[in-house]
Point group: D2
Chain length 382, copies 4
């Protein structure tokens, strides 16, 4: 192919590295991509870091100013792997410059800003994706297939909890994650947003919420904590199902507990991030929960890697799911078509932000909040 | 011993059988009881049932009127294993007649009635227990020991869910459990009350709540359902910890999922009823969760049965925990002393009922409710 | 019923207590027994112990000489809960005196002696049972039902391991369990015999074996160890399946790991003693392993206790399975009929002893040993 | 770096793809490699396949004759990802041509041939590795660290089982894996060899063995099966520990069960391939088994990928472990030093082959076989 897809990425931190590897590996997947991929420009405010990371992952050039990416007419896709407060302006600028945009979650520190990003990017007519990566985990994709096929019947309950313990020690120093201005909500935005998107992906939109949140460690070395260390919320979803959400960065001694559970009239399922390759399924009349290794030929993404043969089941990684995500975006660009319906766009990024805001408000005001979504008459919002 | 403890029990249904076996086995425990036990009178409105069950478990005589137990001067302990709407009057009458009282949970269909039971029974000067049996599960008793010893640090989060699926089929017929008058709240009272007591037992009183509840199947063969099929609630506990509760009798395909989790500043623990003999514990700096079989010599109740020797760990049963509960009551009676502080009394039954009522009100009115407890100045309530 | 079943039991140690409770509870089971039960005489060489245990469990009288039980014309059932070297003579004497006999496993320290017990007891025309209690665990009984129904197809592999760690510390003092004369083989007889019986119960007789064994701690405080601390064995079963067995009392840090696994042409199953109420089942074309809680109405023994209602699954105990075992024996005596085909008799006790002997010989001589069973033409052995 | 490491690889099948991706990703690891990497030549007898795979993974050129790789003076590393019967000659030729050699396991269809490969390759003075990939799984590497540090005390027991079900259906067609000439032993060579290497890696060499094996399906569409469908073996290891091994490609309904367990005087550990990121550890005096997620900063390979930060634990994949393996080889080449002691060389490939041969002989002749290793006086074999 004479001209492939040229990528410019903002952010060379932890998640930026993960995205870099994902683009490299997506381009080498067994599943056809339909284009070559070029890692053209990596930008980061930290000059030393951007040089190192670009060298490691093979970016052709570096910059300390994301505007150079936007200004580069040869770049097709803008990847925003920067911290939350650097999502809005760069994404809008890139889209206006005609670049497709993939942005990390949460889309913006507030629903108002997220709404603006979505509307502006959509108006620019480019493809856009918000990196709710969980949708590209095989177990989650399979859960969605099962639910869409009616295997669980009508969904009555959804519950989610996301428990980390990295901030339980008061001596953990201040960083942008603890700052309301830079990050938006804390555990609610960082952790809860993943699960809110899954509630929407698997069941229905969040309709109303009650919540509580806590700043357990108000002062850390280097700064004052201004967003929530932990939150709990209950909700009614659009289909009438009950839901509960919890997120914490101060939760005892958890490695990375991220678990969702769904109960319907015909069965139940559960997913646990630490056992990334498993989906637990319990169907009425067929006994209790069984652990399905979602790496067999019948499962989503089984064609992605080598593929897996008859000899069985080979665990994939968390980072591999980012390659699935990148592949979804790149192959749509290559084909000149819209993203598939299961891909998360900035519409989803906005909708999640609205639910996050509602939870934050419900917690602050100690009242039930109806979530109101803007642009309900928008074709894309239908 | 010339004169042992003579028991009269109301209720020959499922839980009445469990109590009957528990009294028999408590009297034969390795752990000293200090008295003999006589199963004197079993009462139930169903004459055929009471005859059969009395014969099976060796009750000396039967009755179809609980007042005969109250009137019998030779009965020392009144056990109330009747449905919820038969708790209040018989318990009070028995206590006034000088009998010690053990009553199944929930103590009463409303907090007001529960308060009355507690006050009247306490005023009678008899020993009293409300059958929050979970406190007598070795894993729960051990969890309390660990928390009291500070092994988990300050407790920040508590979560509980109790999921059954027996009522998800709309053809399941109506019974007293589905009736607000007879049973009080549905899943909230029947299932939630166990977990509310555990939050209190392991962490602190429930201070404020928000909740939502559902009647998913309003009409069943034989009657209209008037209490909740499912509820979700969030709460602030008295020590500032966040809490969440969920209970459902319409939850997908669960056998009996009853799980609690506690996160503190030094570690986390989890208990799952289906794995009754295990406690999962995760301590900071000592790796992830480990499954502790709570049947070894270091654990509560390890002296209770044979006892277990060096050869290892022998699973006990759910019904065995009722024997622990019975033994706690009987040995206090035998010794003429108060129940140990970890035993659940009618004070606990009342306090739980207050939190249940608050959750029901919070759900009905869609607002946060502060739980107000009566008789805070009572010595027993201190 | 005018005259019930009168029991005399030899042995008031750990397992004697378990049997005592089992007889009491079997007599109060929901499942009809057809007779009353009288705990008549408990015998043990230790006069103080026998008095205490008899008092606790309600034995009518005690003795320090088992011959008094044999001589008592009013005793119907002789229970032998004594150490292994007290199995042969008392069982034979009791049977000759016309008493039904239930004897703990292993039946005798050698196959030759076990054969003699079986033949003598069978010749006396009484009912007899060898306490391979695992057959009365609901999960095992259910596994047998599944296999008999062909749900696993043709069985190709069986594997078992029984791992304890109580003897890994060299300071654990000498007792009869470590003595070849008193106990017979060590881990092989004590632990392996359970699993050998399960191979026979679920698949087929042991046909040929190779094995290795170890005395890791030859000298303990109080005596020299003369039987195996650990063994491993491989075998061919009568149907051609491969099998492996392992047992150890010096295995690292295991509570009580006793696990069996079966693979057939249509599926696999696994049982783990520490999760007594669960059976893991994996059927071809139906995904991976699922954990079945074997306490529902469809399962063996679900009618035994209260019974369990629609509200779900209540874990039973290890000791409860002894009540199942006792009930099996008592109800056959009450009905005057033979034991059901799934009950383990002294024929099974003998057959297991023959396989144990073969493994011990295979280990000692480092060669494959064909297991030869005596009395193949016996009607009872057919 | 002006001149990097140039790789030539034989084999474009399933495992060849995995190796291709591994070389690409190893070159982009966070952990320094010290050289650039060039995927120069991919060879495979299937011209169409080699073209497709080379295109996907970015090999610069292709060939249908491995001799072209050997003859290319610009190739530094020869990777042999071909079927088992193409290991011996190409590896020896490549080494004689001065190329470093990495070869898939099993090293050769017989111990005699494996010995020849080892001696010839070692004599050529090049670096060499046999792809016992399990050593590069973080949980296994961590297990070795724990054992070397004495955390488990003296090792007394090792057990391993590798259960697949892909061949239980007799209609699965014949392929080279079922052919004794092409593949060597079946389940024993393909599956058992991994676990034999782990016994050696974690405990000690295999000293003596007894075994049994089965051809359950002798005839398949397309050919006669001439190697074992399943085997079981017991062994004594060099340090006196007992060991058992089992492998099957006809085992009921298993996805990919590959499990090892180790018991020492101070504790136990277990590893299960399907839960690749977990190691179960049980230490005396510290309760039961706990599941350690081996992806934290304290663990091997935690520096390899991004690296993982304070926010917790991100599952890696099976394929990632091949990148670890490739990185080990490439970084040694780059540094001009020997492989680290924990890396598996062709010496290990030979030693495993000797144990495999001994097990095959033990099964065929139904006798215990002492494993005799050649060149015990070799410096490399010390």
């Amino acid at each position: 192919m004479s001209d492939g897809i040229r990528i410019g990425q903002l952010g060379a931190g932890f998640i930026g590295k993960v995205h870099s590897l994902a683009y490299r590996n997506a381009a080498r997947a067994q599943r056809p991509l339909g284009a070559t991929v070029e890692l053209r420009t990596l930008a980061d405010h930290n000059a030393q870091r951007v040089a190192e990371v670009a060298d490691r992952y093979g970016w052709a050039q570096t910059s300390t100013d994301w505007r150079e990416i936007v200004a580069d007419p040869d770049i097709d896709l803008f990847d925003n792997s920067a911290p939350n407060d650097l999502h809005v302006e760069p994404c809008i600028a890139a889209a206006r410059a005609g670049k497709h945009v993939l942005c990390e979650k949460p889309l913006a520190p507030s629903a108002q800003e997220a709404h603006r990003v979505w509307r502006e990017v959509a108006a620019a007519g480019v493809l856009h994706q918000c990196a709710f990566m969980y949708r590209f985990i095989p177990a989650i994709a399979y859960a969605r297939q099962l639910i869409e096929a009616g295997e669980l019947g009508e969904i009555l309950h959804f519950r989610a909890r996301f428990l980390l313990s990295f901030a339980v020690d008061p001596e953990v120093p201040f960083s942008w994650r603890f700052d309301r201005q830079a990050a938006g909500p804390g555990a609610l935005g960082d952790l809860g947003s993943h699960h809110i998107d899954l509630a929407r992906f698997l069941v229905a939109e969040v309709a109303s919420v009650a919540a509580a949140s806590t700043i357990e460690v108000p002062q850390r070395p280097g700064g004052a904590v201004t967003n929530d260390d932990a939150f709990v919320a209950i909700a009614r979803l659009g289909n009438g199902a009950s839901a509960s959400f919890e997120g914490s960065r101060i939760a005892g001694n958890h490695g990375l507990t991220s678990r969702i559970e769904v109960d319907g009239t015909r069965g139940s399922l559960a997913f646990d991030f630490e056992r990334l390759n498993e989906l637990a399924l319990s169907e009425r009349g067929k006994g209790g929960f069984r652990s399905i290794l979602v790496t067999q030929s019948a499962h989503p993404f089984s064609d992605f890697w080598f593929p897996v043969g008859i000899q069985g089941q080979h665990p994939i990684s968390w980072a591999d799911c980012f390659a699935h995500q990148a592949h979804c975006m790149l192959s749509a660009i290559a084909a000149g078509r819209a993203l598939p319906s299961e891909a998360p766009t900035m519409f989803d990024g906005y909708r999640v932000a609205e639910a996050v805001d509602a939870m934050a408000r419900a917690a602050a005001e100690r009242e039930w909040v109806e979530v109101s979504y803007r642009d309900l008459d928008s074709p894309e919002g239908a």
